[in-house]
């Protein structure tokens, strides 16, 4: 009884000390993963994921406290890249396969208040006070910040019209086999 208690105590403390020493020697500074994840994210700091910016989202992703499907502007491409990086299954059915959108200014009711272009994270809106604003299609990430601040509801997200250049074949749908009558 006595031997058992003593020897197990010694054994346990020795191993604890060994692990403690190893932890000191093998300490990892920070998490290199966070930076790698941040490089994957769109970086427009739009805040649609609920985190203050892409850096916060990257931290949450590295801690596994956020799903990899958190980034709406990133779409499927970002989800797949994150899945690869983090080694998890990409459940693409969770990604809202939303149609690509773009902000558009309704010229009749735009009052030129400049609020939208002040909040645009990618400088995609051009305009000046009392002047009609317009949107650069290539730069708009459809984050929707401009839509929120517009006092006259003249700026709205619209689906991007499909062009010949962007169109491609849909995925073939295979119906389950019909019973073959012999």
């Amino acid at each position: 009884m006595f031997f058992a208690v003593v020897s197990l105590t010694i054994l346990g403390s020795a191993m604890g000390l060994f692990l403690g020493y190893a932890a000191r020697r093998l300490e990892v500074e920070g998490n290199p993963l966070v930076e790698e994840i941040q490089a994957i994210l769109p970086g427009s700091q739009c805040g649609q994921c609920g985190f203050p910016g892409c850096a916060g989202a990257a931290q949450a992703l590295a801690d596994r406290s956020a799903p990899i499907t958190l980034c709406p502007p990133g779409g499927r491409a970002v989800v797949q890249a994150l899945a690869l990086k983090l080694g998890v299954e990409a459940n693409l059915s969770d990604v809202k396969d939303n149609v690509p959108m773009i902000a558009e200014v309704k010229e009749e009711i735009c009052i030129g208040c400049t609020r939208c272009f002040k909040v645009c994270p990618t400088d995609a809106i051009m305009g000046a006070a009392q002047q009609m604003h317009s949107v650069f299609r290539e730069a708009c990430t459809a984050c929707g910040k401009c839509e929120e601040v517009c006092p006259t509801e003249s700026i709205k997200l619209q689906p991007i019209p499909v062009t010949l250049h962007a169109w491609y074949w849909h995925k073939p749908v295979i119906q389950p086999m019909q019973a073959v009558s012999a």
Binding site: S7, L8, L11, G87
Partner: protein, 191 residues
């Protein structure tokens, strides 16, 4: 020499830890979706299992038996395994952060891999000498890695196959595993 080779052959194929003894099934199903992660997991387990076999033998013969504390065997073994796993985790995290991320929760879970505890217990039961215990542990782990790799390869192809709705995912995985186990039964009587 011949004896050692026979021991290796026996542990890797004939008495395969996963498909014949049915130990360590959780990582077998859990980490077998991709071949590269399967190999990494296999190597980590190999390291832990070999180390655990060696240190358990030493504790058994130099501590527990002389002091007559064999009734504490499982407790001590689990302690040793947990320490080795913790150490492995630290090393992997330091040397290969990407692999650390990929293995994720399964790395600490090597502790609860029943094969890791099972093999030292079996070597103790069979009263094997030190080198034999070491080879027993290593051979079993190599068998584990082999089967994990084979199964991951199968599952990579299964993911592409058209499977009836009710069998998609784990069910067809289990069926495949059972077929693989049947195949390994063919090694019975080899040694």
């Amino acid at each position: 020499m011949r004896e050692y080779l026979m021991l290796l052959l026996s542990t890797v194929l004939v008495n395969n830890v996963v498909l014949v003894k049915f130990l360590g099934l959780c990582p077998f199903m859990g980490i077998s979706k991709k071949t590269d992660t399967a190999v990494s997991m296999g190597l980590a387990t190999t390291f832990v299992m070999t180390m655990a076999s060696a240190s358990c033998w030493m504790l058994e013969h130099w501590l527990l038996m002389p002091l007559g504390m064999v009734y504490l065997r499982i407790l001590v073994y689990i302690l040793v395994i947990a320490v080795v796993v913790q150490f492995t985790e630290m090393v992997v995290r330091k040397t290969n952060p990407a692999l650390y991320q990929v293995l994720g929760i399964y790395l600490p879970l090597i502790t609860t891999n029943c094969a890791v505890l099972g093999i030292p217990l079996l070597t103790t039961q069979e009263k094997l000498p030190f080198v034999n215990s070491l080879l027993y542990g290593f051979g079993s782990a190599a068998g584990f890695t082999l089967v994990l790799l084979l199964f991951a390869g199968l599952r990579e192809r299964l993911a592409l196959a058209q499977v009836p709705g009710a069998f998609i995912g784990a069910p067809i995985g289990f069926i495949t595993a059972s077929l693989l186990a049947l195949a390994f039964m063919g090694f019975a009587g080899l040694v």
